[in-house]
């Protein structure tokens, strides 16, 4: 087989993969849902993936626990990427301080379950999400009147302010941080302890699935359209009756809430947080996840988050060069797929087929 044949084969399979979602969408209802159920089931089996032949060799993280990687990194990064994708990918607002919301989520759990009160984790979560959301609104209200670079710079500052404040405030534990944070409650056979990471993984995956479900609803509504319109041409959107500020603020608030939610999962898992867990670098990594996956594509965000969370651990064998390897891998992806692994697609208006049908039926009725 010649080189060009190989290349053709490769591009073909890339197309096949990126067209997969569409094909599944075209399937009849029953087969579609069974496929989706099967897929979700296989995700819940992820802790056992390293034991599968080939796949195991591909995904396993030598030198560190795979289970640990998928709970501490992959799940968290995927959730964060989903939230950040709403802000950056859908509404087109460059937020470089997203780690701030993640930190707020984690710190609220820390404060309420250990530092200043003894509330259970499950009670802390909704409070943390609401506080993160409010923080998003507070940051967004003045800054969303800014555009482009200005917004990026202000949000960058926000992320740092949160971290530095936590470092300097004794009531937030200062640089020592907060320990003995509450863990999620046991659910039947799922015991959230220190030995077994799986329950945390199942919890995180479930949260991700629920988040995806609701984000899809938003995307397929007036809200999603408004976000897209703002990203494409903010002035034109406003002149077509889109209350742009309101919807930008919503994007910010929802993004912040999801970031905060990821923070609560993190805090509940590691049970010890300090300001150095929330560096600026993490914001950049989150952006990298969204861009790598495919800005504006929710599935892209999921893949991007997973890859950015997992890959540095996969290359742990390279010891101190692993970040370099990770960087090279990122650059390669961006060279060969500049729109990300799963680029944003032009929406496929499935209902149009039905609409045409209805029209022609109507026409026949009129003629008859």
């Amino acid at each position: 087989m010649s080189l060009s044949d190989t290349f053709k084969g490769l591009t073909k399979s890339a197309h096949a993969v990126s067209g997969l979602g569409e094909r599944i969408g075209d399937l009849p209802r029953v087969s579609r849902w069974s496929l989706i159920a099967l897929f979700i089931f296989s995700l819940y089996l992820m802790p056992w993936w390293p034991e599968v032949p080939v796949l195991g060799w591909l995904v396993d993280t030598p030198g560190t626990s795979f289970e640990g990687v998928i709970t501490d990194k992959v799940v968290i990064y995927v959730l964060v990427a989903l939230g950040l994708n709403v802000v950056v990918g859908l509404a087109g607002l460059l937020d470089l301080g997203y780690v701030g919301f993640y930190a707020i989520g984690a710190y609220v759990v820390g404060i309420l379950s250990s530092q200043h009160a003894n509330l259970p984790w499950l009670v802390c979560v909704p409070i943390a999400v609401i506080v993160s959301m409010i923080a998003g609104v507070i940051l967004g209200t003045p800054t969303l009147r800014l555009r482009g670079d200005y917004l990026a710079i202000v949000t960058l500052g926000f992320g740092e302010i949160i971290r530095i404040s936590a470092n300097n405030a004794d009531w937030l534990g200062g640089s020592r941080g907060i320990s003995k944070i509450a863990k999620p409650p046991n659910i039947g056979p799922l015991k959230f302890g220190v030995l077994d990471a799986k329950p945390y993984f199942f919890l995180g995956l479930t949260v991700i699935i629920i988040t995806v479900f609701f984000l899809r609803r938003l995307e397929n509504s007036r809200v999603g359209r408004a976000w897209n319109a703002v990203r494409e041409d903010e002035d034109a959107a406003e002149l077509m009756g889109v209350p742009t500020f309101k919807f930008k603020l919503w994007a910010f608030a929802i993004g912040a809430a999801i970031g905060g939610l990821a923070g609560t999962l993190y805090a509940g898992k590691v049970r010890f947080i300090n300001p150095s867990n929330f560096p600026l670098q993490l914001s950049i990594l989150f952006i990298a996840a969204v861009v790598l996956g495919g800005t504006g594509n929710m599935w892209g965000a999921v893949i991007g988050g997973a890859v950015v969370g997992w890959m540095p651990e996969r290359f742990r064998g390279f010891a101190d060069k692993r970040v370099f390897v990770f960087g090279v891998a990122l650059v390669l992806v961006m060279v060969f797929r500049p729109q990300g692994l799963i680029p944003r697609k032009i929406r496929k208006e499935r209902w149009l087929a039905n609409w045409k049908q209805r029209e022609s039926e109507g026409g026949e009725v009129a003629r008859g």
Partner: protein, 258 residues
């Protein structure tokens, strides 16, 4: 004018040292097609921008439906019933044609985050309404065959029509078209003018900017002529055509020679 839907009252618009509009006065009557013409740089687009709230007039006011528009946000002005197109096409390029129009239709919708998350009844009704309205308008504009294509991939003529469909979807009382036939062949222009007449026949009031004088003569009921930011003539197409100031402006004859 008793039944003016929109009136522009003593509007002056300055950009630094440039006076783009100077003490402009005119009114649009309900149900008419008013032409706004003038040479390059006369201030026509600026006039649109003041009406639709893109710029706040340096002085003067705009009244729509007997209410002043001052202080309203741009999207609020649209919701009051003024929609526009752009001289330089400004569609949402990566969204499909039908989605572009649905964004316009959403100006009449109320579903927000809560309704979308819960999949409220109103959300479903509005989605259906939006789709139906969008397809109806695309069909009316004769571009429904490309409804599912990204706006950026549409031919130029389709893009121009799509802008009109999107503007109509907002449910305007007044439709402002900024050189909608720019770049068209004479035949295409004629077709578009017929379409504009049809739009008016459905009860819309139309404010039409057009460069091509002869074209405007055919469709408009009245014409306002701008030159260097000033209204130099207002009247029926025939009157305006024979107005020496207008002829001078168009032929570039200096004022004192006219």
């Amino acid at each position: 004018m008793a039944d003016a839907i929109l009136s522009v009252n003593n509007v002056t618009m300055q950009f630094g040292g440039v006076t783009a509009l100077s003490d402009v006065n005119f009114a649009i009557e309900r149900g008419e097609i008013l032409g706004l013409i003038g040479p390059n740089g006369a201030g026509k687009t600026t006039c649109f921008n003041v009406i639709t709230g893109v710029y706040a007039a340096t002085s003067g006011s705009v009244t729509f439906d007997n209410q002043p528009l001052a202080g309203l946000k741009r999207f609020q002005i649209t919701k009051r019933g003024i929609a526009r197109t752009f001289q330089n096409i400004r569609l949402f390029p990566d969204m499909t044609a039908v989605e572009n129009v649905m964004v316009g239709a959403d100006a009449n919708h109320k579903t927000s985050v809560g309704g979308a998350l819960l999949g409220s009844r109103r959300h479903h009704r509005e989605e259906r309404e939006g789709r139906d309205r969008a397809m109806e308008l695309l069909t009316f504009m004769g571009i429904a065959d490309r409804a599912a294509d990204a706006a950026r991939n549409l031919p130029y003529g389709y893009q121009r029509r799509l802008e009109i469909a999107r503007a109509l979807a907002t449910g305007p009382k007044l439709l402002c078209l900024d050189e909608p036939a720019a770049g068209f062949t004479p035949a295409e222009k004629q077709e578009l003018m017929d379409l504009i007449r049809k739009i008016r026949a459905q009860g819309y009031t139309v404010l039409l900017i057009e460069h091509d004088m002869s074209l405007v003569m055919g469709v408009t009921d009245r014409i306002v002529v701008l030159d260097f930011g000033k209204v130099i003539a207002t009247g029926s197409p025939a009157d305006v055509q024979n107005n020496p100031d207008v002829i001078a402006a168009y032929l570039g004859v200096p004022d004192d020679a006219a």
